[in-house]
């Protein structure tokens, strides 16, 4: 990408949009995350990868408190996000999230899936919300499906609807939790195209994904996690060509080698 920062390891932007420091999380005695430190600047695209069970999803789910952390600090746009906080809804509205299994509401039409959030949270009128919804459905190339129900769509179409649903809240950052892992191979490209367009439009993104082509093309930085820790942070070129740690070398050889 031409607009990538020259100094990738230390982004220059003044205030990071997301600041994670000393983040820890346990499930019972199992340490899922330990001492995670990561700053994400405005407009930055971060790809998180690592073996399954390495804590990638748990980390990004802590950012909008779908998982509650037990130690450390998370700041989103300068505001601290912590367990049990009041008005967590206000924070979540600024954070779009796309899930592996889409999680569209099956009893609502596509357009209702998109408008329910803005109508309930922001008190936006139904007609305004519908207008916004149609705009984003066009952006994910699926406006002709607006009146259908999610189960009538293919996986790739559902995931694009899910992306549009998140965008309708005009979030400051988008979190992607393995968005293409549950898709048939032929529908993955459509979803990745939408994500690339979104990245080109300047959206701040944290993507947990194993799509290495996407990471090369879009990511400003690649974060490699293993056993609940961040093992390596590097720009995609040096990460893929010259991984620094044994664990990342092993992971890449397994992922690319077959």
């Amino acid at each position: 990408m031409p607009d990538v920062n020259s100094d990738l390891m230390t982004p220059i932007s003044t205030t990071p949009l997301v600041e994670i420091s000393g983040l820890c999380k346990w499930y019972g005695k199992f340490s899922a995350l330990f001492d995670i430190n990561l700053n994400v600047s405005r407009g930055e695209k971060v790809v998180v990868c690592g073996p399954s069970g390495s804590g990638k999803s748990t980390m990004i789910r802590c950012i909008n408190q779908l998982e509650e952390h037990q130690a450390g600090r998370i700041l989103v746009d300068g505001k601290e996000v912590k367990p049990g906080m009041k008005n967590i809804e206000d924070v979540r509205r600024d954070i779009g999230m796309v899930f592996q299994s889409f999680n569209l509401f099956p009893h609502m039409t596509v357009v209702d899936n998109l408008t329910i959030g803005p109508i309930r949270n922001k008190g936006i009128s139904k007609s305004d919300a519908t207008e916004t919804a149609m705009h984003f459905l066009e952006r994910v190339h699926i406006s002709e499906q607006a009146t259908k129900y999610p189960p009538q769509l293919s996986g790739g179409q559902q995931q694009r609807v899910a992306i549009a649903r998140a965008l309708c809240l005009k979030p400051k950052i988008m979190l992607f939790d393995e968005p293409t892992s549950a898709l048939d191979p032929e529908t993955i490209a459509g979803v990745l195209d939408v994500m690339i367009e979104l990245a080109d439009g300047g959206m701040t993104m944290i993507c947990v994904t194993h799509e290495m082509g996407f990471a090369r093309k879009v990511a400003d930085r690649v974060v490699f996690m293993d056993h609940g820790e961040i093992v390596e942070i590097a720009d995609p070129k040096s990460f893929f060509n010259n991984p620094q740690t044994d664990r990342s070398q092993l992971f890449l050889s397994q992922l690319l080698g077959h």
């Binding site: 979540r92 779009g96 899930f99 299994s101 999680n103 509401f105 329910i116 959030g117 949270n121």
Partner: protein
């Protein structure tokens, strides 16, 4: 092979084996009837019992409903009111069973376990002899004016039956509602919990509050799933209402006991009453099956 004419499935058609089985069943029935007629010296007399269904009123020169039909009406009233209350109790308790607050969870759990692990008859005796003889008078329900204008109106009679028996009716209805409510609680809980966690997460992720997530996302999906078991529970409630006869609520079973005693036509009375219950419950079953089918069609 023609691609446009698939082979027809054989399911749903009578085969030789079906005819054979039918023949055996019919033969057995005839044999049983023949033997019973032979041995049993019983003079069937339907006329007297049917007279308790409808009778010819000399004064108004017309056919009017008699005790058994009135009992059926009471059963129906009882069932409908009890269903409404049981649903109310069940929805609240079912929600409490799943909510974050520990106290509410304990209350709902105790209610369900207490009622499900006690025979209905025992529960009804406890409830009736304690609650309705102690709490109702304390609440002033016994002293309701049965001669008042509303109590004497057609509307009151249509809704609650004879005003003189109102507190009795209320006690029976609440007994039944609390009893069935425990089962509805479990149906509602299962419905709420059957909604995948991903739905909750997606709802929370787009900034919906807990209440909105419940109302817009979880409950609409839960309702579709629980309607069939709820319909089944409603029919069970109609049948269970027979137990209420033990505390002298004048519903169908109570009246039937009296009719059987006074006419001494025990077989006829109970066969007739059995058919009345069957007719009532089966028509509701057909109605619910129809509604369910329609709901599915309008689904998408």
């Amino acid at each position: 092979m023609d691609r446009n004419s698939p082979p027809v499935a054989a399911k749903g058609r009578f085969t030789l084996l079906d005819y054979l089985l039918f023949g055996i069943v019919i033969a057995f029935v005839f044999y049983a009837v023949y033997r019973v007629n032979d041995v049993l010296v019983y003079q069937w007399n339907w006329e007297r019992v049917l007279g308790f269904l409808v009778k010819y009123d000399e004064e108004s020169q017309s056919w009017v409903s008699n005790l058994l039909l009135q009992g059926l009406a009471t059963t129906l009233r009882l069932a409908i009111w009890a269903t409404l209350f049981a649903t109310l109790v069940g929805v609240v308790m079912g929600y409490w069973r799943t909510c974050q607050n520990l106290t509410l969870r304990i209350i709902a759990r105790c209610y369900v376990e207490l009622i499900r692990n006690m025979p209905p008859v025992v529960f009804i005796f406890i409830f009736y002899f304690f609650v309705s003889s102690q709490i109702f008078p304390a609440m002033g329900i016994d002293s309701i004016d049965t001669q008042g204008e509303f109590a004497q109106s057609e509307v009151f009679y249509f809704l609650f039956g004879n005003p003189a028996l109102f507190s009795n009716f209320l006690a029976g209805m609440i007994c039944l509602a609390l009893f069935e409510g425990a089962y509805i609680t479990e149906i509602v809980r299962a419905g709420i919990q059957s909604t995948p966690t991903g739905q909750w997460e997606a709802a929370r992720a787009i900034g919906l509050s807990h209440f909105n997530a419940l109302r817009d996302v979880v409950i609409p999906q839960a309702i579709r799933k629980i309607l069939p078991p709820l319909a089944g529970q409603f029919i069970t409630l109609i049948k269970d209402s027979a137990i209420i006869s033990l505390i002298s609520i004048q519903e169908l079973t109570f009246i039937a006991t009296e009719v059987a005693a006074s006419t001494t036509r025990v077989f006829e009375t109970w066969i007739l009453v059995g058919l009345m219950y069957f007719g009532l419950c089966y028509s509701f079953a057909v109605l619910f099956a129809y509604l369910e089918k329609r709901a599915k069609r309008s689904d998408r």
